[in-house]
């Protein structure tokens, strides 16, 4: 499995892509989930019983960066189908929207706009934050596994040609 990572990330643009996806997902998620506060001044804070949520956000962001950039590599260099790309984006989205706290500004805006339906959706996302993030991690791990497997086979085939 590490061979696939080496293969992809020996190309510098993919290191940059993975880093951009990781940071681009991590920072907004930490702000939305209220681990980073911007007002009245910039501060990070992890409350005593919220460490698990924090760790899961980091894992989801890291896996998203890894899996999405590996799939971009696969599509661009191997000219393969975009099926797995959809899977990795789906996993990232699930991991991102889970726990988008209903207490936050986003929740307030959605509930105010969509009323009880928005309330039910946000209540679900908030209530099942941890299980949803775990599911997203499981899904991204599965996509990572199938991607590395497919990269290995495809590379072998290309080398044999």
């Amino acid at each position: 499995m590490t061979e696939s990572i080496k293969l992809v990330f020996s190309n510098f643009p993919y290191v940059v892509l993975a880093s951009v996806i990781f940071v681009g997902l991590l920072i907004p998620l930490l702000i939305i989930s209220e681990y980073i506060f911007l007002e009245p001044f910039l501060i990070g804070h992890i409350a005593a019983d919220r460490e698990l949520g924090f760790v899961l956000i980091i894992v989801v962001s890291a896996l998203s960066g890894l899996v999405v950039s590996m799939n971009v590599f696969r599509i661009r260099l191997m000219r393969m189908s975009k099926k797995k790309m959809g899977g990795s984006v789906f996993g990232s989205v699930i991991g991102s929207v889970a726990g988008v706290c209903g207490c936050g500004p986003l929740g307030f805006a959605i509930i105010s706009t969509f009323g009880s339906i928005g309330g039910v959706a946000f209540s679900f996302l908030t209530t099942y934050e941890i299980p949803l993030r775990l599911a997203a991690i499981g899904f991204l791990a599965f996509v990572y596994y199938t991607t590395t497997k497919s990269l290995k086979i495809e590379c072998q085939l290309n080398n044999n040609k």
Partner: protein, 222 residues
Amino acid sequence: MSKKGIIVGGIAAAVIIGIIASYSTTQFDSETLNLDMGRTHGTISTAMGSPILGNPSAPITIVEFGDYQCSQCYNWFQNTKPQIIENLIDTGKANLVFVDLAFLGRDSIPAAAASYCAEEQGKYWEYHDLLYYSQQRIDDGWANSERLKAFAFSLDLDMEMFDSCVDSGKFSKRVQFNTAEAGKQGATSTPTFFIINSEGEQQKISGAQPFSVFKDVVDSLT
């Protein structure tokens, strides 16, 4: 006694009974009887909010906009509020007012309204704390009518009075007023705090931030 005297006496008695009845009805139904309708802190009307926790003449007031079903409000209640009470409220540096921003679920407004039913019996803050200690998932039934009454029972409140208050939805409009006030102040998440000094200067803090942030803001406004 003449016939005329009986009629005049009857009318006078009816008028007196009417005045007494009207006075007692006003006392029973009015939400505003025990409220300072002009109470404001900075630009915020807190007239319909909670009673003041701490010294009313403290130089700093912390106004919290919150929802009893909000998990981040619980985080603040559990992790930061004890330090606020110990270091700012008990020392007379600040006082606290809770104003409802009840939007998260269908049980949010009844829970907030029930806290004012407890206030009628002088136990607002005890009921407020009990609601947060009892918080579970949004709208999973932890704050339904039966549970709200059970909380009151555990605080030894007069249940006849409390039940009647909760069942009539007596304080629903008060909660709605508070939620509208939150909107006017630009509070779009819970918890949102405004720290206000005696000159009316105010600073907003969004989210369940740590005590150090509150201390810094209070120090800067003192």
